[in-house]
Every structure is written in C-alpha cells, then in structure tokens.
C-alpha cells in the first residue's frame, strides 16, 4: 500500500505537470495576445503548486514510508525497479535540499532580471551592458556548484543537472577528438547555395510538412502540429504530444528538418509513456543528451540522408508544385548535406554545429573554474571563432551575446546538444549494423518503422533504468564515442 500511495501522489503531480505544460503550449500557440499577463499568473500559480507538492514534507514522508515498506517486504513484485524509482526521486530531493531557500530565490530573481539585460545588450550589440549581470550569474553558478559539492571540478556538478554523471573530463576527451576531426571537414567545405529558385507558398509547404510526423510514427490520434515563433515539442499526457514549427517561404527545408527534430523528441516521449511503470520517476527521459539524440537522429541521420529523399523528393516536388528541372535532385541533396562556416549556432549545419558547442563548453568550463574573466569573454570568443572557423566576429550580437542560455545561468546545458549528436550517430550506426536493409527500405518505401521499434526497445522503453553509459553499451556495444558522428559527417560537403 505504501508504494501505491507513492505512485498515486506521483500521478497527481504528473497531472499538474501536464496541466502546466498545457498552459505554456497554449500561450505559445493559441492564446490571444492580450491574454499574456493573466496567463503568466496562471503559470506562476501552477509552478508554485508543483514545487510545493514535489518538495514538501508530505511527499517526503510518503517516499520514506514506501522505502521502509520495500525494505521490510522482500516478496514485493518488481522490487528492484520500485527501489530504483524511489532512489531517483530521493536523489533529486537531496540535490535540491543542498541549495538554501534564499539562494534559490536569489537565483530566480537574478535570472529573471538578466533576461531583459541580455536582450537589451544583444539589441544594442554592446557586451558592456550585460557583463556585470553575467558576472553576477557566474558567481551564483559558482556558489551553486559549491553548495552541490564536487569531486574534481565545480563545473561537473552543474553539468550533472542536465546530463547526470557526465564530467568535464569525459566531455573534454569526447570533444577534443571530435574537434580534431571536424576542423578539416569544415576547412574543405564547399557551401552549396539555396537551390529554391522561387518562394514556396506556406499552404503548399504545410501539406508536405504535416504528413511527416505520422510517416515517422507520431500518429494523428496522439499528436498535433501547429505554428509558433519558436519551434518546440511538449507532452500534455501519455497520448497527447504536441509539436510546432514555423515556415519560411524561401526555404521549405527549414520547417521540414524542424518538424523531424521535434517529432524525434515526441516519439521519445511517447515511448516513455508506454513504459508499464509510467507515470513514474523511472519512466522519464534519461538525460538531455539522450533526448537530443532522438531529435537529431531523425533530423540529421534520417532526414539528411539521400535515401530519405529518394523516396520523398518526388512527393515534395508534387506538394510544392515544382518541376524536377526547377529543383534538380543533386542540387537539392548537395544543399541538404552542405557545410558552411556560420557565426550563429542555431543556423549551423550538422558539422559546424558541434564546433559551436565545443567553443561554448571550453569557455563555460574556464569561466566556472575562474580561469578566465567575464570581461575577457568577447576577446576569447572571437579568437576561438577565428581558430575553429576562420571567421571574424564584428559585433557581440553575432558572437558571445547570441544565445539565451547564460542569461538563464544554465551553465552546463550546451554540451548536451553535442552529446545528442554523438549519441544519435552511434545509435543509428548500431541500428544499421543490425538492420542492414534499412536504407533500401527507406529509399524505396519511405518506411522507418523498424528504426522506431529499435529505438523504443533500446532507448525509449529504458527510461531511467540504466545510466547513459550503460544504455549506450547495451545498445551499441561501446561507451560514447565521437567516431560514428565523424563517420556520418565525412561525406557532408
């Protein structure tokens, strides 16, 4: 009964979390503009309620009773998995409890204020408008790391919030290899220009784009695709996953890859919800890197393959009302697999994207270790851009000020994007070894169901039962390595 009480409390929490997600989804996708102020209060109310319930004494005592029960009754079904559920929750609670309440409030206030400072500085292209704020945020992150505690370096304890058990040393080994291999690919790249000779009306784009999620297994009975200014995916229930995109008349591919990316995230969430334990702490995403691996796998490994387009190119041409001569297949594929030196991370191709991340990782790590100062950031950023890309940064809006993450004090978040790429390539390669006929099926029938089944079995339905390294070894036979990512990127051009 004690464990059932735990599950029932957790269920209640999950209902409120899903409701919270609906408030946010609606505000991005549906809400009339004047609804904003009241909605922010509704969201704050829900956030507070969830925080109180998930950190309150009632929940703690329910967890302790359940733990006691499991320890004294060894004949309980699925004992190990139940213990693991409680351990996961306890670990989170223990980590949270290390931060004094006043510190949490200060962090929340400072990051709230920092948003507008950062926006203004970026708009004015003036780093000095943000530097003292960023300095405060770095100091807060350092205090946070000290509260958490760490073995080797402070930054490790911050990474742990996003990618449990990854350390700066581990990332640095992975990323050094990756960087070494990618720099020559970028140096030799020949950027292919946009092959679309005319604009494609959004209505025509939609008909193709809206067919993608269900093609990949995210069926219409449990999902919907809408438009929002910043594409995202969210889960509003075990069988209610929503994704968004935006359309660009000059580049139909941007929404297609966006939709494949968000579909990958949502397919993972569908799989997690299918676990027999769900909802439970064990049926949640394993890490941000693994979550990202699922989006990147569909976007880059599948979506940017020639095989995918062998099947979909004629369908897309038809939807876009284009003749083959207006968009030759070779020019189209060259563009899809093109590498270009870009200053902006979110506009980067699958190759250079990783270099953008590694640059941020190196800087964050040194910042938190107090090896470099905030005031030196623009200089360091620009030097690294020169080193990795050969590019000169003219103003900080296209340099150190381009991303929102640091203004949220989310130090340790960036590495998970590159980890996602690394995991995705390694997983896809392992899948292909077991399913050598997949590319053929993909190119002739557009059928990706065997891939989804494999991912469900090896990633989605694992939830948090294993660590990331355990999952990777079980699924691919190896610890995380950058070699499969490099392999998959070498014939980008």
């Amino acid at each position: 009964m004690s464990f059932a009480n735990f599950r029932s409390f957790y269920n209640r929490l999950q209902n409120f979390r899903d409701t919270h997600s609906l408030l946010q989804w609606d505000s991005e996708v549906m809400m009339p503009s004047s609804g904003r102020l009241a909605r922010s209060h509704q969201i704050a109310e829900m956030t507070k309620l969830i925080h109180e319930l998930s950190t309150g004494e009632e929940f703690k005592s329910i967890i302790n009773l359940a733990l006691n029960d499991l320890e004294t009754n060894s004949d309980i079904e699925n004992l190990a998995s139940k213990k693991k559920e409680l351990e996961i929750i306890q670990e989170t609670l223990v980590k949270q409890s290390k931060l004094p309440t006043e510190f949490v409030q200060e962090l929340s206030q400072k990051t709230n204020l920092a948003q507008s400072k950062w926006e203004e500085a970026k708009k004015q292209k003036d780093f000095s408008l943000f530097s003292s704020t960023l300095e405060e945020l770095v100091q807060l992150a350092i205090r946070q790391a000290e509260y958490y505690g760490y073995e080797k370096e402070r930054y490790d304890s911050l990474i742990d919030d996003y990618e449990k058990s990854a350390t700066a040393d581990f990332l640095s080994r992975l990323f050094d290899d990756l960087k070494k291999d990618l720099i020559p690919i970028v140096a030799n790249a020949k950027a292919y220009s946009n092959p679309f000779l005319k604009k494609i009306p959004i209505d025509l784009q939609k008909s193709f784009c809206e067919s993608i999620p269900s093609q990949l297994g995210l069926t219409e009975d449990l999902s919907r695709l809408d438009i929002s200014s910043h594409p995202f995916s969210t889960s509003l229930g075990p069988k209610d996953k929503r994704i968004t995109t935006r359309y660009d008349e000059s580049d139909p591919l941007s929404s297609i890859f966006g939709v494949m990316h968000e579909t990958g995230h949502s397919l993972y969430e569908v799989g997690l919800s299918e676990m027999e334990e769900a909802p439970s702490p064990i049926a949640e995403f394993l890490s941000l890197g693994i979550h990202e691996s699922q989006s990147r796998l569909w976007e880059n490994q599948v979506g940017r393959s020639s095989e995918f387009w062998m099947y979909h190119y004629p369908i897309a041409l038809h939807a876009w009302n284009l003749k083959e001569s207006e968009l030759p297949f070779d020019a189209f594929i060259n563009y899809i697999r093109s590498v270009e030196k870009t200053k902006i991370r979110v506009e980067a191709d699958p190759v250079t994207y990783n270099l953008h991340i590694i640059l941020r990782f190196e800087i964050e790590r040194d910042l938190i270790a107090q090896k470099i100062k905030v005031s030196e950031l623009p200089e360091i950023w620009n030097a690294k851009m020169k080193e990795s890309f050969g590019l000169t940064i003219d103003n900080p809006a296209e340099g150190v000020l381009q991303d929102v993450h640091w203004s949220m004090a989310a130090f340790g978040y960036f590495p998970t994007y590159a980890l996602g790429n690394i995991y995705s390539a390694q997983l896809y390669s392992a899948f292909l070894k077991e399913n050598p006929t997949f590319p053929k099926t993909l190119s002739t029938k557009g059928d990706t169901s065997s891939l989804l089944q494999w991912l469900k079995k090896n990633v989605h339905h694992i939830g948090k039962m294993y660590s990331v390294n355990e999952l990777m070894v079980k699924a691919t036979g190896e610890l995380p390595t950058s070699k499969y990512l490099v392999e998959s990127l070498t014939n980008f051009r």
Copy 2:
C-alpha cells in the same frame, strides 16, 4: 490587510479556475483523440483542488478575518462593496454546507452514471431504459431541496442554484402571460423554407463568420473563434475569451447566429473582467438568465433584425460568392424571422423556443412537487406538445428524451433560457428608447458600439452588485415582464 488576504486567496482560486477552463476548452477544440483519458484525470485533479480550496477551512477563516476587519474598521475604502463580496461568498458556502458530503458524492456518482443511461435510451428511443434512473435523480433533487430548505415549494430552492431569488410563482406568472401571447403567433405562423439554393462551402462561410465577433466588439487581441462539435464560450482570463461554432454547408445562418450568441456571452465576460474589483465574487455573472440575456440579445434582437442585414446582406453575398438573384433579400429575411412548429428545442425559432421551455418548467415543477410521476412523463410531454404546438410526438427521442439536463439532475436550469429571452427584449427595448437612432446606424454603418457601451454600463459592470430585479428596474424602469419579448416577436412570421 485581512481583506487583501481574502483577495489574494481569491486570485489564486481564479487562476486555478481559468486553468480548469483551459483544460476543458482544449479537450473540446484542440486535443488529439487519444488524449481523452489522461485529460479526464487532469480535469478531475483540478476540480478536486478547486473544490478543496474553495470550501476548505483556510478559506473560511480568511473570510472570517476579513469580515471582522471590515466590521471593526469603518474607515475602509469601498466598505459596502467589500462587505457585499464577502457576503456573496459566505452565502454560497452556507448553501453548500447544507448538503452532507455523502449526499454530494452520491449525486455526483448517480449523475455520472445517468449520462450513459440517458444516451442509450435516447439512441434506442425507449423511455423505459431511463425511467428508473430518472426516478432516482428526481428523488435526489427532492432530497437536495429538503437539505437546502424553502419557504413555499421545493422547486424554489433548486431554481435558486441557477437564478437566485427567482421562484416558481414568479416564473409561473411571467410564463403564463408569455404562453398566452405566443400560442396565437405560433398558430398563425407561416414557416418559410430555407432560401439557400446551393451549398455554401465552409471556407466561404468562415470569412464572413470570423469577422462577426470583432464587429460586435469582441476584438481579436482578446478572443478567438474555433470549431467544436457543441458550440460554447468560455473565459480563460480577463482578456482571453474563446468561442466556438460549427458549420453547416446547407445553412450558413446557423453558424452566424451561433457566433453572435456566443459573442454575446463573451462580451458579458469581458465586461465583468473590466470591473475594478475583478477578480472577485462581485465581478461574476449575476445569474444564468442574465448571462443568457446577453447572448440572446445579440443573436435575436440584433442578429435577426432587418437593420442588421441591411448592412451585412451585401457583405455576406460577396463572401458566399452569391448573386442577389440567388438569394433575394426578402426571402432571406423571411427565413430569418420565420416561425415553425418544431419538436426539438435546440432547433426552434425565437418564438417557439419559449414554449419549449415553458413546457419543461411546468413538468419539472410538478415532478419536484411530486404531483406527477416519472412514469407518466412521456404521456404528459406528448399531450403538452399537442396543446402548445399541435404536434404529435412519435418517439421519446424527439420528445421527453431530447435534452441532457434532467440526466444531470439540473432541475431548475431550463427556466433561465426563457428568462434570458425576456430580459434581453426588455433590455434592448430600454436601450432603444434611450438611443432611438440606433437602428438607423445599424442599417447604414453596421455600428453596434453604442449598444455595447449601454450594456457594459447597465449590465456588465454591475456584476453581482444588484439583484436581477434591481438591475432590471435600474436599467429598464420595470420589473421583469414578458411584454417586450412578445412585442419583439409579434412581427415574426
């Protein structure tokens, strides 16, 4: 400070109520089909939370502290209005507290089960499949009335849940007059047939329909119009009102009048949110009858007037891609103002609709007074249909089983629909006396802003400060009377 605490608690409640409304709106309008089960749990969780907060000891003690504070400090600003707020809340709490918890649970369980029984009986056209369930619901309603207490007859205390201070005697006086005047209109009616000679594609209907809310003052920054199987309006925040409609290719007017109806409801909600006290118990809708008066006023008094269509007819023709010869103005207006003897309430015209309601009122009243038995209902229903409409009912699906209300034990709800009609005609007539040029402005410019301003001042911004009778006397100079409704319906045809 005590009163501020009360307001702050109320604010919190309102945030949760609006969130609850979003969960429901989304489930009717946006949610993918497989989301249903989890959503029902999310809604139940939210319902429970709101119930606990709004009836719990914390709230009661906050109310008592605030009341004490107001009683001991006579120099508080807006003292009377603040006292009134607390009185309204206390009255609700006192009424709720009269129902034993076990009774509330039994009522909720029985009405839940009754839904499917009623649906099945209606589908099978067999009253016997529902009669024992309905008998139980009547007995529960009788117990409920006994718990509440009453002066004259049980039914009064049930009406009070929907239309405070209306009594069966009061309704019976109003309705007897109304019935006497309407029966000859119906008897002499010449039903005009649908003048649309071809189907109007839904896309063309939308362009006209979607322009209506903002034309009437429900602007796009604070509202949206979507499609759902059962049209409704809901408030998700002070500046976030949502309405829905459905389209019928054979009859574009059904969605237009539906949209005007729901717009009327939402304009009232906008007005209530504009009150300086909002959110507060005083800034809520006064009664269901008054709420309905706002929808009926825009739908029937404005929307079915020749003046409205003098302006909008050419616009509509253009939107529908029709020539004038395909839909002559006279045939169009005749159809809009046509009276037809119908068996089904929700399909009824503005004249016969009231007779449908009066029939239900008479039956409910006798049921709750135990003057008639559930087993006699089909016979009584059919006899009354013969008497008022001259129609023969062949099966109970188009007779006594047509409406959902009794399966929800909502005895006392029906009268508010006819009250809405009565209030709407009386309010509109008073407005026209003060604004004699309105019909001219409506027919030449389509401008209804003076009407909205008048309604805001005389109805919307009153909230719950007055009783219904006080509001009607202040706004129109008279207690509620059916004469203006009859007047407005006499030149229906």
